[in-house]
C-alpha cells in the first residue's frame, strides 16, 4: 500500500501495465519529457523511451486515429487528450471508427485502447478547460465509459481498462487529481472491475447517484442531511457504460427516493438516463419524483464557476425536496 494522489495513481497504473505488457504505449501532447501538463505520465519516458511514450503533433484526431491504427495491429495504445474539452477534433475517430470497428467488421477487427482525458470544473479554467462531456460518449454504442472518483479506483479501473477488450473512454476528474491522498495497493494484479458501481455510504431514506468529483459532494450533502435525521445512501457509478443498473435499482428499492448528481449540463445528461431507467424498472418503489442536480444548461462560465458547479447545499435542497414530497 502507498498513500497517493489520483495523478500518482494514474501514473502508477500506466507504469505497471507498461512493465507488464510491451504492447502498451502512451501518446499525446506533452506526455513525454514534460510528463503531461497534469504530470500523469511523469517519468514514463525515462523508463520506456520515446517509442513507447510519444509526444505527438498538436492534433487530437491524429492522436486517436493513430492509436486506432496501432490497436488494429495489436498494440494497446493509451492516448491522452490533454483536456476533454479538446477531444472534439477526434470525435469522428472515436465514434465512427474506434467505437464501431468490431461491429462493422463482423468482429474481424477490434481496437481495444484507452482514451484518457481530464474533465470537469473547479479549477478556474473557463469553459474550454472545465466541461463534462460524458453524455456524448455514453450515447455511442461500442464505447465503455469509466470515471473514477478516488485514487484507489483510478488505479484499479485504469489497469482494468488497459486490459479490456473494448475501447474505453477514461474520464479523470481533474478537480480531485491532487487531493485527497488515499491508500492504494502496489500489487500488480489488483484491478477494479469495470461495470460495477460501489455504495460509498449506506443509508435508508434516499439514494444519490454520482460519479467523479461529485461523489465527494454527495457525501458532504448526506452529512448535512443526517443533521436533519435523513439517512442517505451514495452510489458511485464508476462505470457509466455499461451501467450497473442492478446497484441503482437495489438502492432505490431500499430507500424509495432518488437524487441524481452530475456536473454536466442537465438536458439529455447522463442522469436523465438513470432517472428513465428507474422510471421504467422501479417506478412502483418511488415515494417521490426523482430530482436531478446538475450544472445549468449554459456553457461553463469562468468567473461564476462557483455558482455553476453543484455544491452540497444545492444537493441538500434536492434531498429536502424528495424527503418532504
Amino acid at each position: 500500500m502507498s498513500s497517493i494522489t489520483m495523478v500518482q495513481a494514474v501514473n502508477d497504473a500506466l507504469r505497471e501495465e507498461m512493465r507488464g505488457d510491451d504492447d502498451v504505449v502512451v501518446l499525446g501532447e506533452d506526455v513525454g519529457i514534460n510528463g503531461g501538463v497534469f504530470r500523469c505520465t511523469a517519468d514514463l519516458i525515462d523508463e520506456f523511451g520515446e517509442e513507447r511514450v510519444i509526444d505527438t503533433p498538436l492534433s487530437e484526431s491524429g492522436i486517436i486515429g493513430a492509436a486506432v491504427g496501432m490497436a488494429l495491429y495489436g498494440l494497446k495504445p493509451v492516448p491522452e487528450i490533454q483536456f476533454s474539452d479538446f477531444i472534439w477534433p477526434a470525435f469522428d475517430q472515436i465514434t465512427s471508427e474506434m467505437a464501431k470497428m468490431r461491429y462493422r467488421s463482423g468482429g474481424q477487427f477490434t481496437c481495444p485502447m484507452v482514451v484518457r482525458t481530464p474533465y470537469g470544473g473547479g479549477i478556474r479554467g473557463g469553459h474550454y478547460h472545465s466541461q463534462s462531456p460524458e453524455a456524448y460518449f455514453t450515447h455511442t454504442p461500442g464505447l465503455v465509459v469509466v470515471i473514477p472518483s478516488d485514487p484507489y479506483d483510478a488505479k484499479g479501473l485504469l489497469k482494468a481498462a488497459i486490459r479490456c477488450e473494448d475501447p474505453v473512454i477514461f474520464l479523470e476528474p481533474k478537480r480531485i487529481y491532487r487531493a485527497p491522498k488515499m491508500d492504494v495497493p502496489d500489487d500488480d494484479d489488483y484491478v477494479v472491475e469495470i461495470g460495477k458501481a460501489a455504495v460509498r455510504r449506506e443509508g435508508t431514506d434516499f439514494t444519490i447517484t454520482a460519479y467523479g468529483a461529485m461523489v465527494a459532494v454527495a457525501l458532504e450533502a448526506c452529512e448535512k442531511a443526517a443533521e436533519q435525521g435523513w439517512s442517505g445512501e451514495v452510489v458511485d457509478l464508476r462505470t457509466l457504460l455499461p451501467l450497473d443498473e442492478d446497484a441503482i435499482i437495489q438502492s432505490v428499492t431500499k430507500t424509495g427516493r432518488l437524487v441524481t448528481l452530475q456536473e454536466a449540463t442537465k438536458f439529455c445528461g447522463f442522469s436523465s438516463e438513470i432517472s428513465a431507467i428507474v422510471a421504467e424498472k422501479a417506478i412502483d418503489v418511488l415515494e417521490a419524483p426523482v430530482k436531478r442536480v446538475s450544472g445549468f444548461d449554459v456553457p461553463f462560465p469562468y468567473t461564476l464557476e462557483h455558482v455553476y458547479m453543484p455544491h452540497a447545499d444545492r444537493v441538500l435542497k434536492a434531498i429536502e425536496g424528495v424527503m418532504t414530497y
Binding site: 498538436l58 479538446f86 468567473t303
Partner: protein, 370 residues
C-alpha cells in the same frame, strides 16, 4: 525568395540591409517602437498581477512583440483579425483601451465578454478583433470563410489569422489553407513560429524544412521572415496584404521567433528545455529595433526612459480602472446562450435565485493548473 530563405531587414547590430528597408515615415517607426514596448510592459504587469493572485492566469508574449506589431501595422483598420491568445499587441495597435483587457483578465462585470472566458480570451467586435477560442487552430478556417465572404461582397478589406507552430498540425490549418487556395480568398495566414508548443519542440511538430514551405502545397506563396525584425515582418505582411487586396489570393507567412517565457503562468519550461531561452535574450526584437532607431538618429536614452515611464504610468492607471468593477451578475450566466432566454433557462435562473439568493463567494482554493 524561396520559402526556405529567411527575410531580414535589420541586422543584429541595428544596421539596415541596403535596399531592404520599407519606406516608412519616422512617425510610424516610432509608433511601432512604442507599441512593442507597450506590449512588453503590459505583459510584465499582467504576469505580476497573476503572481499576486489578482488574476487567475496569463499568457505572456515576451520576445514576440515584433511579430505582433510589424504584422498589424501592415494591415488596415478595416481588415478583420483572428487573434490567438498570445498577441496582446494586436489589441493595443487597434486602439483597445487597456482597461478592457484588464477587465477581461479579471473576468469582472466591466469585461465585454461578461466574465465567461479565461483571461486573455478577448473579443472586440468594434475593432474587428474576433473572439479568441482556446481550442487550437479552429479559427484558421474562420478567417478563410470570412475572406471568402469579403470577396463575394467585393469588400476592400482582407482578413488575417494568427496561430502558432503547434496550430499548423490542427485539422483546420489544413482546411483553412486548402479552402483559401482554391477560393483565392484574401487572407493572410500568420504563423508565429516560436519553436515550442508547450513542451513540444518544432522538430516534433513537423518534419517540413520550414512552415512557409507548406504554403506551396496549397497553391499559395509561403514566406519565412525573421520574426524578431519588426521591419522585415512589416514588409512581408504588407506585400502579402497588397497581393490579397489585388485579388491574387492568400499567403502563408512564417514569423521565426522564440517563446522566451513559459507557455503560460502555469507552465515551468525549465522542466523540458533547461535554460535554452537565455540564448535568445540578445536577439530581443525590441533591443534590435532600438539599435536601428539609434543608428538612424531617431532615438535616445532620454526618450527611452521617458517612454517607459509614460507607458508604465498609463498601464497602472488603466489596471486600476479595469480592476475596479465587481463580479458579473448571476443573470449573465444565462443570457447570450441564445438570442432570447428560453423557458428552461429562465426557470433554472429563477430557481437559483429563489434557492440560493444572488450572493456567491468565489472558491479561494480553485487554481488553474495550465
Amino acid at each position: 525568395m524561396s520559402s526556405t530563405d529567411m527575410l531580414q531587414v535589420i541586422s543584429k547590430n541595428g544596421k539596415a540591409k541596403r535596399g531592404a528597408e520599407p519606406n516608412l515615415p519616422k512617425k510610424t517607426l516610432l509608433a511601432m517602437y512604442e507599441a512593442m514596448m507597450q506590449t512588453r510592459l503590459l505583459d510584465e504587469r499582467m504576469i505580476n498581477l497573476q503572481r499576486q493572485g489578482r488574476i487567475g492566469f496569463y499568457v505572456p508574449s515576451t520576445g514576440e512583440e515584433a511579430a505582433q506589431v510589424g504584422s498589424c501595422m501592415a494591415l488596415d483598420d478595416t481588415d478583420w483579425l483572428f487573434p490567438s491568445y498570445r498577441v496582446p499587441g494586436l489589441f493595443l495597435m487597434r486602439g483597445v483601451d487597456i482597461q478592457h483587457l484588464v477587465a477581461n483578465c479579471f473576468g469582472n462585470e466591466a469585461d465585454l465578454c461578461k466574465g465567461r472566458q479565461m483571461p486573455v480570451h478577448y473579443a472586440f467586435a468594434e475593432h474587428k478583433l474576433v473572439s479568441i477560442s482556446s481550442p487550437i487552430g479552429t479559427h484558421i478556417i474562420h478567417a478563410t470563410g470570412l475572406a471568402m465572404a469579403q470577396k463575394l461582397k467585393k469588400d476592400k478589406g482582407i482578413s488575417a489569422v494568427y496561430f502558432g507552430d503547434g496550430g499548423t498540425s490542427s485539422n483546420d490549418f489544413h482546411s483553412g489553407l486548402n479552402f483559401a487556395g482554391v477560393a483565392k480568398a484574401p487572407v493572410l495566414f500568420i504563423c508565429t513560429n516560436n519553436q515550442w508548443a508547450i513542451s513540444v519542440p518544432i522538430e516534433k511538430q513537423t518534419a517540413s524544412e520550414t512552415i512557409a514551405i507548406k504554403g506551396e502545397a496549397y497553391g499559395m506563396p509561403g514566406v519565412r521572415v525573421d520574426g524578431n525584425d519588426v521591419l522585415a515582418v512589416y514588409d512581408a505582411c504588407k506585400k502579402a496584404a497588397d497581393r490579397a487586396r489585388k485579388g491574387d489570393g492568400p499567403t502563408l507567412i512564417e514569423l521565426m521567433t522564440y517563446r522566451r517565457g513559459p507557455h503560460s503562468s502555469s507552465d515551468d519550461p525549465t522542466r523540458y528545455r533547461g535554460n535554452q531561452a537565455d540564448e535568445w535574450l540578445d536577439r530581443d526584437p525590441i533591443l534590435r529595433f532600438r539599435k536601428y532607431l539609434e543608428v538612424a538618429d531617431m532615438w535616445s536614452e532620454k526618450q527611452e526612459t521617458e517612454l517607459i515611464e509614460r507607458l508604465k504610468a498609463g498601464i497602472n492607471a488603466e489596471v486600476k480602472k479595469g480592476e475596479a468593477a465587481g463580479q458579473p451578475s448571476l443573470e449573465t450566466m444565462f443570457t447570450d446562450v441564445y438570442a432570447n432566454v428560453p423557458p428552461h433557462l429562465r426557470e433554472q435562473y429563477e430557481n437559483l435565485v429563489r434557492d440560493e439568493g444572488t450572493g456567491h463567494e468565489p472558491d479561494p482554493d480553485a487554481a488553474f493548473p495550465l
